[in-house]
């Protein structure tokens, strides 16, 4: 049984779990964020437990349950997926618990405090591109999954956690220089998944950034490369669709998103290889 506090700016998480796989996952991906819980006198934003299944599901086809504050927001998964369950559950916490941040489904990388936001529907290839920018072009990783915007300062918050990879992208990212992958989980709801550790630089220099570019990536095998500037209004509508809580945040959410786009240039890109995508991003950002 582990009982640890994770410092994952902007939140602090307490995690209790009896699974060895979860402990291994934390040691692999969160080595410097980890402290034993005990009487630390911290403020805990999310109190999470990954628990064994109840009744016979403890032993027969064992399950892992996700509990936030002792309540179970979703159905259990097979016990072998306890570690991915923690990652998915933590994303759910960040997206659904009111914390005053506008949270969007997007990868965020930055350079010298200038952020590139890549919203994406599942399967668009944003995680692969995010990993390529991080490992090959040495961008700072803020998050591969959640853009967390503080309305009061207009800055994107770093939340450097393992990059979540699915199916074909696992082998692609495994070949990137410096990429370190964890174990593979077959037969999850999203197919085979794995995680890539963010580079040490992203974890240690976790600084906030301001949105300068928004790019909607689309990986389409066999397609001709295409890069098109789009208007801020269109970008707003498309990001709003990918935002978990803009509506719940009322006019604060609306103004925060407007503010984020005010200083941003927006693009729609389609590509059939990571190399092409990297060239496009270099052209757009000039970095």
């Amino acid at each position: 049984m582990i009982d640890v506090t994770l410092y994952l700016a902007p939140v602090t998480v307490r995690l209790r779990a009896p699974f060895g796989t979860v402990r291994h996952h934390l040691e692999t991906f969160y080595p410097d964020a980890l402290r034993p819980s005990g009487r630390t006198g911290n403020f805990i934003d999310f109190d999470i437990r990954i628990a064994h299944g109840t009744g016979w599901r403890r032993w027969l086809r064992p399950q892992a349950r996700f509990l936030l504050d002792n309540t179970e927001p979703f159905l259990p998964l097979p016990a072998s997926q306890a570690a991915p369950l923690f990652e998915w559950g933590l994303n759910w916490c960040l997206a659904s618990r009111p914390l005053g941040y506008l949270v969007m489904h997007a990868a965020v990388v930055a350079r010298d405090g200038d952020a590139l936001v890549m919203p994406g529907s599942p399967g668009a290839g944003k995680s692969t591109l995010c990993a390529a920018l991080t490992f090959i072009d040495q961008w700072q990783l803020l998050s591969d999954e959640l853009a967390i915007l503080a309305p009061e300062s207009g800055s994107l918050q770093p939340n450097p956690r393992p990059i979540s990879l699915k199916n074909e992208s696992i082998d692609i990212v495994a070949r990137f220089p410096g990429a370190r992958l964890g174990r593979r989980y077959a037969d999850t709801r999203k197919g085979t998944i794995s995680h890539a550790a963010p580079p040490a630089a992203s974890r240690t220099v976790a600084r906030q950034a301001r949105c300068r570019w928004v790019i909607f990536p689309r990986f389409t095998p066999g397609s001709a490369p295409r890069c098109e500037a789009i208007g801020r209004a269109e970008a707003f509508a498309r990001i709003a669709e990918q935002s978990f809580n803009r509506d719940r945040m009322g006019d604060t959410g609306f103004h925060a998103l407007c503010g984020m786009l005010d200083k941003a240039r927006c693009f729609d890109i389609a590509y059939d290889s990571t190399e092409t995508a990297l060239v496009m991003v270099r052209d757009i950002t000039g970095r």
Binding site: T12, R39, T40, G41, N42, F43, I44, D45, D47, R61, Q63, F66, D69, N70, T71, F74, L75, P76, L77, P78, L85, W88, P98, L99, G100, R189, D247, R248, M249, G250, T252
Partner: protein
């Protein structure tokens, strides 16, 4: 209410200045309890009103839930305007209950509160027309099984819940305040007739203060589920404090509970609020209600509610609370319908639950 965390939450909600003495770990626990009890918004309001300095980590949560409450209030008002538009042609009064009534009438109880479903009360004779007009306006029945449909339509005090096809908002259309099969038989017409109009919403009505209080009590005691028990108790506390601004409020409460045939639950609800939250109820009123109900509140029932009412994050940790909740659940169903119906209903529900469990073998998140 027997855990230290729960007692501290209650005492800080009553006397917010006590929060000055908390360290960061205590704030962490307080915010978690308040959130789990669905009272984080009330905590935020009370702490802000008292001008307490809150550490930034906790302030984030409190500010966010206040903002969510304001946003939900706005949404509820917007939905009510839509209901007014959908139903005004019928020429019937449309009475808002619970959260919707607090939000639209800007009742103090609504400040910082989070809202779930929208509850409305309409005259029984108009039910068919109301349902039809709502369907035209984009509300669809959420319960699709024939059993559930029949359960609501034959035995309950409301239509099966309706869901806005576009927005997912849930609407409960009541025609009375207790199930038709219940031991008590309140005449909802008295609530509808006495309800007051609003300036800019001609069809919409807000129940009299004593009816808001009585409905809140009856709801807490007959619902059987105590997930929001502590929040409901604070609603009751707020409703009676605000209601008491009218000079004849308490007399009206006593009279209305007689007229509505709910003396016993109201007597017990007031006793519970006085016992658990020290709600300011004049002793003669408590005595009157006690006499009318035919004796003092049951000590067993008081003990059950005292044990069962606590924030959700600790409820499942305590076997005593689970047991008390189960007893209250059974009792609520006992009050809800006569034994033969109850048996039939519970049998059906458990079979349906067993059937539903099977796909869980696949393990989905």
């Amino acid at each position: 209410m027997q855990s230290a965390a729960c007692r501290r939450l209650v005492s800080i909600l009553k006397t917010p200045t006590q929060a000055c003495a908390l360290d960061l770990a205590a704030w962490s626990e307080l915010v978690a309890s308040a959130r789990a009890a669905n009272l984080a918004g009330l905590l935020a309001e009370r702490v802000a009103t008292a001008g307490i300095e809150v550490p930034p980590e906790a302030a984030r949560h409190l500010a966010a839930v206040r903002q969510l409450s304001r946003r939900q209030t706005q949404s509820v008002r917007w939905e009510v305007h839509g209901l007014q538009r959908a139903l005004c042609r019928l020429g019937i009064p449309l009475v808002l209950l619970k959260g919707a009534a607090y939000a639209v009438s800007d009742h103090p109880v609504g400040r910082g509160r989070l809202f779930g479903d929208i509850d409305i009360l309409v005259p029984h004779h108009a039910l068919g027309d109301v349902e039809l007009r709502l369907m035209v306006a984009g509300w669809a029945s959420a319960k699709t099984s024939p059993y559930d449909q029949r359960y609501y339509r034959t035995w309950m005090h409301e239509l099966p819940p309706m869901v806005s096809v576009r927005r997912g908002t849930v609407l409960d259309v009541h025609h009375t305040i207790l199930p038709l099969t219940s031991r008590h038989n309140p005449d909802a017409e008295t609530i509808i007739r006495a309800a007051s109009a609003l300036p800019d919403l001609p069809a919409v009505r807000i129940p009299r203060p004593e009816h808001l209080l009585i409905h809140s009590i009856v709801h807490l005691l007959h619902e059987g589920e105590l997930h929001n028990g502590l929040r409901d108790l604070f609603d009751i506390d707020g409703l009676l404090r605000t209601g008491a601004n009218e000079a004849d409020f308490w007399q009206r409460v006593v009279d209305a509970s007689r007229t509505l045939d709910v003396v016993a639950p109201v007597a017990f609800g007031l006793h519970l609020a006085a016992h658990l939250l020290d709600s300011p109820i004049p002793p003669p009123v408590l005595a009157d209600m006690r006499n009318a109900a035919g004796g003092p509140a049951s000590r067993l029932l008081t003990m059950l509610y005292t044990t069962a009412i606590r924030p959700e994050n600790e409820a499942t940790e305590s076997p005593a609370a689970m047991l008390a909740r189960f007893a209250i659940y059974v009792r609520a169903h006992w009050l809800r319908m006569p034994p033969h119906l109850l048996l039939r209903h519970l049998a059906h529900k458990s079979i349906a639950r067993l059937k539903k469990d099977e796909p869980a073998v696949e393990g989905r998140a």
